[in-house]
């Protein structure tokens, strides 16, 4: 079955510390991969995406993510977190066999300590 797992529900980091948010998926082929961010009371904003090619992708706001086929993972990273990064982060996977169906993980809520 197709699924997306974000194992960390909450993460707390200090401002200036590094960040890694985990995402794993279950699918027989290589899907399209995305990270979205949602600030409180706001809509969803795309941070970055991976379709093919270089497995390390750069996004907005200093975020990057690495696709690891052997681990079925697409983890999001940032070297130095800012207080404004506090938000909820969603990994999403587009399963493209026949039609485009996008499935989201349950989200990771990031808290940043001053």
């Amino acid at each position: 079955a197709q699924s997306v797992t974000q194992p960390d529900i909450h993460i707390t980091v200090s401002e200036g510390a590094s960040l890694e948010l985990r995402c794993n998926y279950s699918y027989g082929a290589t899907p399209y991969l995305f990270w979205y961010v949602q600030s409180p009371g706001q809509g969803l904003q795309l941070l970055l995406k991976y379709f093919s090619g270089d497995t390390l992708v750069q996004g907005i706001k200093g975020f990057e993510a690495e696709f690891k086929r052997s681990q079925s993972s697409f983890n999001l990273r940032k070297p130095s977190v800012h207080w404004s990064d506090a938000a909820e982060y969603f990994c999403a996977v587009a399963f493209t066999s026949g039609t485009y169906k996008y499935i989201f993980g349950t989200g990771t809520r990031l808290k940043v300590l001053a």
């Binding site: 974000q6 979205y36 379709f51």
Partner: protein, 119 residues
């Protein structure tokens, strides 16, 4: 921003009443989606459409139906609303990457959401 409009943006209704949410796009995209967002569950796919009159079920389709009679409109109907359907509903559109349209990027573009409360 992609041209996606959801209506109504807020609705309070009573258990057992029918409710229809509308999603309207101006991007001429083939794919349209309805998600619901609930704390602890993220966004869950209800139904999606891959063309006019072409729809399919998502993860949580029970209690919901959809219709797409025109490319630009995707309707979500709760035939008899229940309290468990209290949620924030997001419409989204996408188009495979490539082509000349600015929004043919393979990503999802979201509407602003519709908050539904079922009493």
């Amino acid at each position: 921003d992609a041209g996606i409009t959801q209506s109504p943006r807020h609705k309070v209704t009573e258990t057992g009443t029918p409710v229809t949410l509308r999603c309207h796009q101006t991007e001429n995209h083939r794919y349209m989606y309805w998600y619901r967002q609930d704390p602890g569950h993220g966004l869950r796919l209800i139904h999606y459409s891959y063309g006019v009159k072409d729809t399919d079920k998502g993860e949580v389709s029970d209690g919901y139906s959809v219709s797409r009679s025109k490319t630009e409109d995707f309707l979500l109907t709760l035939e008899s609303a229940t309290s468990s359907q209290t949620s924030v509903y997001f419409c989204a559109i996408s188009a495979p990457s490539g082509g000349t349209l600015r929004t043919n990027t393979g990503e999802l573009f979201f509407g602003e959401g519709s908050r539904l409360t079922v009493l």
